[in-house]
Structures are given as C-alpha cells and as structure tokens.
Amino acid sequence: MTRPVEMPVAAPYAATPNSVSRVMIIVMVALTPATLFGFWLYGWPAIYLWMITVGAAAGGEAVCLQLQGRAVAPVLLDGSAVLTGWLLALSLPPWAPWWIGVFGGLFATVLGKQVFGGLGQNLFNPAMVARVALLISFPVHMTAWVAPLPIVAAAAPGPIAGLLITLKGMQPAFDTVASASLLGFAKTELSRGVDLAQSLLHAPIQGWYGSRAGSLGETATWLIAGGGVAMIFLRTITWHIPLAMLLGIAIPAAILNAIDPARYMEASTHLLSGGAMLGAFFIATDYVTSPNTPRGQLVFGAGCGVLTYVIRTWAGYPEGVAFAVLLMNSLTPIIDSYIRPRIYGRNRQGVALEPGK
C-alpha cells in the first residue's frame, strides 16, 4: 500500500520557511523608505542612476552566470545582485553620470563577487569594492554632491532634464545647486586652517531629518536606521555589528570632541553624516563578509567604527566607511578563526569541563 521512496534524504525532514531570497527581500524592503525619500530629495537623476546601477549589477551577474554555463534566472532571482547594486547606488552622488552606475554595478558583481565564485564566496563586500574603485578612479565625479532639491520643487529637473543630467553629466543650468557633503566641507576647511567653530557656521544645510548634501543613503539617516532596527526585530540581522560599529564611531568622537571641539566634530554629527548608518546596518552586516559569531561580530563592528572615525579624522578622505568595512572584511577569516562560541560541555579553550562543577 505504501510505495517505496525513491530518494533517501537525511533528516531533518522539515525546513524553515526562510530562504535566501526572503532574506534579500527583507533587506530591500528595509531599504525602500530611505530610497524613496532619497528619490524625493534628489529627483529624476537619482532615480535614473539607481535604475542604471541596479541594472548593471544584475547584468554583470547574468553575464558571469552565462559564461559559467549556469542557469541565470534562478540565481538572479535570489536577489543578491540587485541588492548589491541597490546598496552601491545608495552610496553614489545622486546626480552622477550614467557610466558611474554602469561601471560600479559591473565592478561590484563581476569583480567583487563572481570572480570569487559567486554568492557566499567573496571576501570583500561587493558594493564597497565597487564604491572604492569608483572613488579612486573618478574622484571628481564621486565627490560632486548636490544640495537636495525635492522632486516637486520648481527648480528641480523634470523627467527629461533629469535624464539629460544622468546621460550627459551635470548641466550648467543646475550648477547653482552643486554643494559639498558636511564631512568633505569640514575636512577642506580644517585643511585651510579654519576650525570647526568657524567653518560649521557656513556649513551646508543640515535638515535634522536628513535633507543634506550627500548620497541617497546619507540623507535619509533616520529612515536607514529605522530599516535597520526593523531588520533586527525580524531577526534578519543581529544587533551586534550595528551597535558595535556606531559605538566604535561615537566613543572616540565624543572623547576627542570633549577635548578639542574646535578640531573634532561632535559624535552625533559623525553618526548622522556620511555612510555611518547605511554602513552599520546594511553594509557591515553583510552575512558573507562578516564574522558569524556574536562576539566576532562585536569585534568586527567595533573595528569598522573605529577605522571609520580614524579615516574621517586623520586620513586623506573625508569619508571612511567603505575603506573601514573593506579592511575589516579582510580580517573576517582571522576573527572567525580565533573567536568561536563556547561549546556545550567545554570551556572556551575547547577543553572538557570538570564533572562536579
């Protein structure tokens, strides 16, 4: 009456409803409010750039899969390439020309991910690899920020004008809106000998809700953080990396700011500027390139935070999240090798516990 089962499989015979694509979709949903807000602030050019970057990332992945002779559709549908492109787009100047998006997107999935062997094999965060490659290759385009100009504003470029900005670069007609990000501005002024007490008076506008010159992911700080906290509650990520990274930035910032406020910016400014929030919740928490034990994640997150602060404060670049994350990515295998969970019945050194204790 019961027929033989053809293919024996090992227990368990039950599986979680979770899946890789579900994880990716949750991350994308968590990014959506911040992205939409960014679109609203920066208008059509930002929308086009986002589409181009995501398309290029997915296209790069598809070509690689095709060359490997693997089925393209199921792998693309896991959503990881789209998410990589999305994260990269959020870290670009919103009015950057189309080829920045194309180059970055292709770089991220082809050189950042597929040459390592695809999903799960890459040592470095693909989006940050691409961002750093762009920043080093095209420093001018990658630091050409614009002041927010909401999509509904009269001066904002419409769909056609926006497309022209993306295709041909920033148009003279809109030159007036060119601006600097806060971190870049402060760094330039400091290097000219103007201390923060002076320079911050003329700093670019800082709307408390995040409308400031910067990338899409920089302006919507609170929405980014909100999406991140939602991911923690959905257990897509744990709190360890974000908290450690934010503290890694905030603690040295607070100490140095207390010592010399004319030279060192406040901790809150650091946290709300640049890619701190995006980095802490969405970039550093990338499963593939971060440690997989809670204690390892604390070390990793703290390292990302401190390095970010160090690079922002003393290095040549005004922003350091991407560099910090990449540096810590390279330490992930070492962290994972040294920091392991305590095994039941053993002490931290792996020696069996004494009975009777």
Binding site: M1, T2, R3, P4, V5, P8, V9, A10, A11, P12, Y13, A14, A15, T16, N18, S19, V20, R22, V23, P74, D78, S80, G118, L119, G120, Q121, F233, T238, Y287, V288, S290, N292, T293, D336, R340, P341, R342, I343, Y344, G345, R346, G350, A352, L353, E354, P355, G356
Partner: protein, 499 residues
C-alpha cells in the same frame, strides 16, 4: 510585549519549528485491534542483539520471553501477542537502507492470553538491585528514541550516587505526541514509575520537564504528582531540542554535562516519561515491555492520532488502521527532525518508535539547495555551540581533520542547523557522512594496529624460539665437551632438550 519577551527570554539555542502536534495529540487514544501477525526484531535496543529461546512451531503466550539478552548492554524480547511462532527470519529493518534484520514472527491466536505475571505490591520494599533486575528482565529500554537498556542506567546512577532523576516529558519533535498522550492518560503510571526509578537509583528528587506547549499534560501530571512532593513538575519553554538530555539537564538544573562524560557524572539521570510508565508496568504488574503508544501523523493520514499497539505490528497495519488519504510521499519513523526514513511500510514497530509519519507531497518537498551565505543562522541555532557552516565546509572539501578541529564529535545530530539554513544545505548529511568516515577510519586504524601487534608478537616469538634453540644447542655442546673431558659417567639428559 510578546515580541520583547520573545526577544529576551527564549533560550539562545535551538529552533522553533511548527509543531503540527494537534489535532493528533488531542484525539483520544485508540487501541489497535489484534494484528494477525507480529514480527519481533531481536535488535530493538542499543547493545547486543537478543538470542532466541523459542522454536518455530512453539506456542507462546503474551509476555513470554522470546529472546534473552546477550552481554552487559542488551535487552530481552517478549511476545506481544499470544499465538504460534511461525518463523525466525529476516524482516526489513527500520533503516533507510531497507536492509533486513532477524525477527521472530508470531501468528496471533487472537486470544490475547498473558503469561502468569509476578506483580509486586510494594516496590519500595524491594532492594534497588531487584528493581534493576526486574526492569532488565522486562526488556525496558529508553522509549524516547535512544533505546538504551533502562536497568543499565539504574545501576550506573546508583554507583555514581545520582541525587536527581530528570523525567523527560519534553517531546520536542514536531508531529509526535505519544509522550503527551501517556502523560494525559496515564499520569499516575508515569509518576509511580518515576518514584520506582528514584528508589532504584537512590535519588531524592525527580524533576519532570514538560514543554509548555502541552498544558493538558502539565495539568494531569501536576494532579498525579500532588501527593508526592519529591516529584516536581517543571514546565519548560517549547523549543527544539528541549527533549535532548543535555539541553533538558541544563534548562532544569543549570548543570552542563562535560564533553565526553555521562549525565550521571554531574549527578543527574534522565529517563523518558514513557520509560517511567514501562517501569511501572514491569514492576507493579510484572508485565514486560510488549506494547507502546505510537503517534500516527502526517497529511497523508486520514485520521491521525495516537495508537496503543503491540510491538512488532507492521507499520502498514498501523497506517491502514488510521487510514491513508493517499500513498505517502515520505514515510518516517520517529519525528521529522531526527527520525529515520522508511523505504516502505512492511517494517515492524520497534520499542523506540514514538511516531510514524506519512507525509504528503507538500510536506515531503525538499527545497532546492543553495550556496552558503554565511548568515550564521546555524551557529545561532546549534544547541551545542558548534559552527556547523565551518564543519560542513571542511567536510565538503574532504578535510575531516579540520572538521574534528571544530569539535564534530560534540554534534548531537539534532538537525537544528539544517532546519534553519536559508539555503537548505543538508548539514546533518555532511556530519553523518563525516562521522561514518571517521568511525570507518578508526576501525581501520584498530585493525592495522592489531595486525601490527600480531606481526610484532610473531617476530618476537620467532626470535625467542631461535635464541632459545641456540642457547640449548650451546649448552649441550658445552656439556658434551665437559663430558668428554671428564671420566665418562652416566648422566641424565638435561630437561631443556625437550624444548
């Protein structure tokens, strides 16, 4: 509020699969009508197989000894129906291989006549050793699935001075509710069995751990234990694998069983609730273990529920009794997390079988395997604190020693990691494969060492023989020379000459 509670109060290990226990758990217990034939396997326990003591053609009564235990760790087998022994031959074992193992087949006479039993009115007047002896003679083994002979644990517990008996009513496997049912329907048997075991091992308290998804069982057990303050009912959070000895001990006592050590060494002993009831029957009623409650569940079953059935009944007979809505797409003995795959239903019900699951195509669907994204879900789920993803990566590249370095030997094969993996990597398959390879390697090493030892011994023997021969020859030569030198006189031959 629930969310915050979930966030902070749950154990850090384990998983929370859909339990699928109801409605099967709530259906009243049904008794299987006498099957026409039962097959009693000789190996239904950990340890040596039992040795048959009946002959084909012999008439047997229910409860009569069919096969006696062999060796220190073994258990006897008794007839589960009255009738005639018709064969002692191979039947299909409950194992994915579908290979056979020896069993005694009894044709039922439908009279259900018991042997004369030897009930004990007051077990607490018996010596602990006598309780262990009677439990062993009744063929009682761990009914939670481990099937370790219960009496062996009694003796061990007594020797190591165990103070706390832990009664395992966790039953964390999804779908399965046989322990739940025994606690709801026969709580006094469970409590009495626990008290008898306490007496047998000299414990002064017993903690009954029951997952909090079984409120009816908790209520029934609390009522049954009300008169005995030493038997404490302790609800525990419903979280797989709470029913695993090590995790239950930790949850109830805060103690951790050291690696490579036994629970008794930290002063606790764990017995399943069904085992307690079996001990109660073995001692109070003198009845050997010949029947058990088994959960028949899964979407392919028309009327899922718990069945009281004689051991040796074919799985097909049990499924036919509950009705099959369709041919099962997958048949499992035990629970879905750690159960055994059955190739078909012509397999006898064994002592350790808590459930038989007939899955439909939806339940049996195996998700596509993807690449590891290092999300760490397996690490968080592992109740042993292992790094399943690292172990699997080493095993996949053939580096078994690397996997040992990640403490593969501590893996309890609970399946949490494979369950929770979003890429659905069959992690337990990797670990089972590696453990099999390692034990094969270990056996080969022992064989090589034994061979080497034998060869060395032979060489040493040959050398010794040659040396002794040479010594004897030299002595004789010396003696002959001495004899020649002296005046010849009659002398007895030296004894060594005979060697």
């Amino acid at each position: 509020m629930r969310l915050i509670e979930r966030f902070f109060k749950e154990p850090r290990w384990g998983v929370h699969p859909d339990d699928h226990k109801r409605p099967a758990a709530d259906v009243p217990l049904r008794v299987l009508p006498q099957p026409a034939r039962v097959h009693m396997p000789l190996q239904q326990h950990v340890g040596g197989a039992a040795r048959p003591v009946v002959l084909v053609g012999q008439k047997v009564l229910k409860g009569q000894l069919l096969a006696q235990s062999q060796g220190n760790i073994s258990a006897p087998i008794h007839a589960s129906v009255s009738g005639t022994v018709t064969a002692i031959a191979e039947v299909t074992a409950p194992h994915p291989s579908g290979l056979g193992f020896a069993a005694i087949t009894i044709e039922s006479d439908f009279a259900d006549r018991w042997i004369d039993t030897d009930p004990v009115a007051d077990p607490f007047a018996l010596a602990p050793e006598e309780i262990a002896r009677r439990t062993a003679a009744a063929g009682v083994v761990g009914l939670g699935g481990a099937t370790f002979p219960a009496a062996v644990k009694f003796v061990l517990g007594r020797r190591l001075g165990v103070r706390t008996l832990i009664v395992n009513g966790g039953e964390c496997e999804p779908y399965v509710s046989s322990d739940d049912r025994i606690m709801r329907d026969f709580p006094e048997q469970v409590v009495d069995g626990a008290r008898i075991i306490m007496h047998a091992i000299g414990a002064d308290e017993s903690l009954v751990g029951i997952e909090d998804n079984k409120p009816e069982a908790i209520a029934a057990m609390t009522r049954a234990a009300a008169a005995y303050p030493e038997v404490k009912i302790r609800p525990v959070p419903a979280r797989y694998p709470m029913g695993s000895d090590k995790q239950l001990i930790q949850t109830l006592t805060g103690k951790e069983v050291p690696a490579d050590a036994r629970a008794a060494e930290v002063g606790v002993l764990v017995h399943n609730v069904s085992t307690c009831a079996a001990v109660h029957k073995a001692i109070r009623l003198g009845q050997p273990l010949v029947e058990r409650i088994v959960t028949i569940n899964g979407a392919a079953v028309t009327a899922p529920g718990n069945i009281f059935a004689p051991l040796g009944t074919l799985v097909d007979d049990l499924l036919a009794f509950c009705g099959l809505a369709q041919a099962p797409a997958r048949l499992i003995l035990g629970g879905p997390m750690m159960g055994t795959l059955l190739r078909h239903g012509r397999v006898p019900l064994v002592k350790g079988a808590s459930g038989i699951l007939a899955f439909d195509a939806v339940e049996a669907a195996v998700p596509e395997v993807g690449p590891c994204i290092r999300c760490g879900s397996c690490t968080r789920a592992c109740p042993m604190g292992l790094l399943p993803l690292e172990m699997a990566a080493h095993i996949r590249s053939g580096d078994l020693d690397g996997a040992i370095g990640y403490s593969l030997s501590d893996c309890i094969s609970c399946g949490c990691c494979a369950y929770v993996c979003p890429s659905h990597i069959p992690l337990v398959q990797y670990f089972s494969h590696a453990k099999g390879e390692l034990s094969a390697r270990e056996r080969a090493k022992l064989r090589t060492e034994a061979g080497k030892r034998l060869a060395e011994a032979r060489l040493a023997r040959l050398e010794r023989d040659a040396r002794e021969k040479a010594e004897v020859a030299a002595r004789r030569k010396a003696e002959r020379a001495a004899a020649k030198a002296r005046v010849p006189s009659p002398q007895p031959e030296p004894q060594e000459a005979s060697t």
